[in-house]
Symmetry: C2
Subunit: 169 residues, 2 copies
């Protein structure tokens, strides 16, 4: 039962929320479908490869990668293990933190990302940006920033020292 | 490698897309977390209960429910089976379509939804609507409608005849 203090959504908010749920489900289903079909990469894995490709030395601490992808550490660990099996990522011990590990993208991983990127960009354009005006793109950015709040993935500093040692395993 | 015809995102689009990805991950993680923690209901299951609660007779054909939730039929089938195990939903044969089945919400399911709704509404308000202006709520609705395209969940007609027969199992 509703408590007297429940702050229910107004009808405008309810309407916006339902459209937003439908939009995100439709959109992420299309983006996931294209990446899986054309490149056999899950969208979450693609995002990990993007983050690594942009980092200095194409490497990030696992903890930084987890923040950047807003994934839990255990889920990220699983994803990176799958990417390692494909030879796209290596896990290395970080010399500045004995408990920490660093994920580094391999040349094969970079090539896989390069091969997948055009089809993915086309899908994101079709699913989102072909459907929006320039004003709406700016509005979407502002709304997303407000919802994301303090979380700013990709802005976390990378491992402060180069981590050149190989993985122990 | 990029084909010459690849329609890459502009820097404004890239910026908006990344913020949108962060916002949706942050938001859905918070919404899922609250529902699981306070009501032990996955967000996708909650959405199924909402759809059923609003349908005439609190029942929908499985195929209509699948469209309404933009889930695949197999995923929906799994979810409804879990809801049936909890006694919140019953599956019945539909008399107008021998291959079709109807999902009907039970009183226990309705009570579970009623109990979960205030906490969920509060979370959606905190994660989204407390952070947006009235103009942004309208913008979010318009942007979502453009992205959702033709998909209009909840507007599919329900089973045209009452389905009062019990499940065979």
């Amino acid at each position: 039962m509703a408590e007297p203090t429940t702050r229910w959504l107004t009808s405008e908010e309810q309407h916006a929320w339902r459209l937003f749920l439908t939009a995100t489900q439709t959109l992420f289903s299309a983006v996931e479908g294209q990446l899986q079909r054309d490149s056999a990469i899950a969208h979450g894995y693609y995002e990990i490869l993007v983050r690594l490709s942009e980092a200095e030395g194409r490497e990030l601490r696992m903890s930084q990668l987890a923040e950047a992808s807003t994934s839990s550490k255990s889920r990220l660990s699983h994803a990176v293990a799958r990417l390692e099996e494909r030879g796209w990522v290596q896990r290395l011990d970080c010399p500045t933190d004995r408990r920490g590990q660093v994920a580094r993208m391999t040349d094969a991983g970079y090539a896989a990302l390069e091969a997948a990127a055009p089809g993915h960009a086309e899908q994101v354009r079709r699913s989102v940006f072909d459907r929006l005006t320039g004003d709406q793109v700016a509005q979407l950015a502002a709304i997303s920033e407000a919802i994301a709040g303090g979380a700013q993935p990709g802005e976390t500093p990378i491992c402060p020292l180069p981590c050149d040692n190989e993985l122990d395993e």
